[in-house]
Symmetry: C2
Subunit: 201 residues, 2 copies
Amino acid sequence: MNELRTSTQARGDRSRARLLDAAVQAFSAKGFHGTSTRDIATAAGLSPAAVYVHHRSKEELLHAIAVRGHEVILEAVTEATCTDATPAERVAAAVRTYVLFHARSHTTARVINYELAALTEEHFREIAGLRRAIDTVMREVVEEGVRSGDFDTPDPAKAATALLSLGIDLARWYRDDGSWTPDALADFYADLALRVVGVRP
Amino acid sequence: MNELRTSTQARGDRSRARLLDAAVQAFSAKGFHGTSTRDIATAAGLSPAAVYVHHRSKEELLHAIAVRGHEVILEAVTEATCTDATPAERVAAAVRTYVLFHARSHTTARVINYELAALTEEHFREIAGLRRAIDTVMREVVEEGVRSGDFDTPDPAKAATALLSLGIDLARWYRDDGSWTPDALADFYADLALRVVGVRP
DNA sequence: ACAATATAAGTGACCGCTTAGATTTGGTTC
DNA sequence: GAACCAAATCTAAGCGGTCACTTATATTGT
């Protein structure tokens, strides 16, 4: 009987999304503590109080951004590695996917990699779990390559950490006006990844 | 006639240093904007007003930390690469040095890599110059190895960026209570660096 | 005496967030 | 189809608290 999806509610949905977008931009540019809720509201074209119509708190905005971002990454790298290709192809696919996200969505990536200290302890633990899952995906495909003899590295776990580091730090230095496209960077880093894990010729 | 170094001034020097130390710890843990000058003063065992006896502003504290940190790194990697060893040995030495700093001084490293957006435009440009110099040192030794035929990489500049990324991101995830010592990590990453630049057998 | 060091006590500005109420909108009633 | 209701959206105003920083004064060591 009730359903809903009236245009009044559609307007609310748009406002909620615009607030999230504005929060991502502001948190990325000035950090969580350097951003005021008035900044966010103004950038979204709303009054300061509107933030609290759609979100419980400033921290809840960061939490929503972090959950969404990490879920997208986890799903993408899982899909990239859950194939029956060779370990080398799967590592390359995982790194390509991971790098593509951090280049294309570098604004979001900056927030979800560098602002997590502002989360509540409970929310931080939740995000830490998602990050562990991403790390596990990358580590397991490297470990499998070592077991099968396709890779040669003295420490698969640390090699996987290095691969993730390359993607994460990309979000720190990447600029849209740079000379490299996300795709070109993804190819370059996929090649690097094979060197890092020591793919046998 | 005047000299100085009285014990009154020595006390002032100690206070100035303690304030800088406290600022590094606080900026690293909670970010520049998440840290109050009262936090810093209290951690240094002084009254809130004491911050302004020794430093012009909170931003000037960050600037001093950033200048010192980048100068230390630049000097260290320059010394590591200005030898007559082979390109492979020099790249390994540079990465070892860079990784050692980011592991041992991860608290400082976090501040000088992730809090630069809080600097004034002028101070930021100054730090950007130091960072470019560090990047140049790493890039030139990779380029030299490519020219001499010792290395094989499609893009020496991006390979150098990747090497620096590994060190920088180390500061993000490194914990003192982890299982790896800074020296062990430096060795691991020095080996990785040779794979990244494609050292010929 | 004096100069450097330190503080107590503020300053106005801005912070995250709340409250009380106005406005917008679509559905229900006659 | 006019009158009305209920629910959602949104804002004006402002709350107590904290911010970076200043001023005026006291303390310290030579």
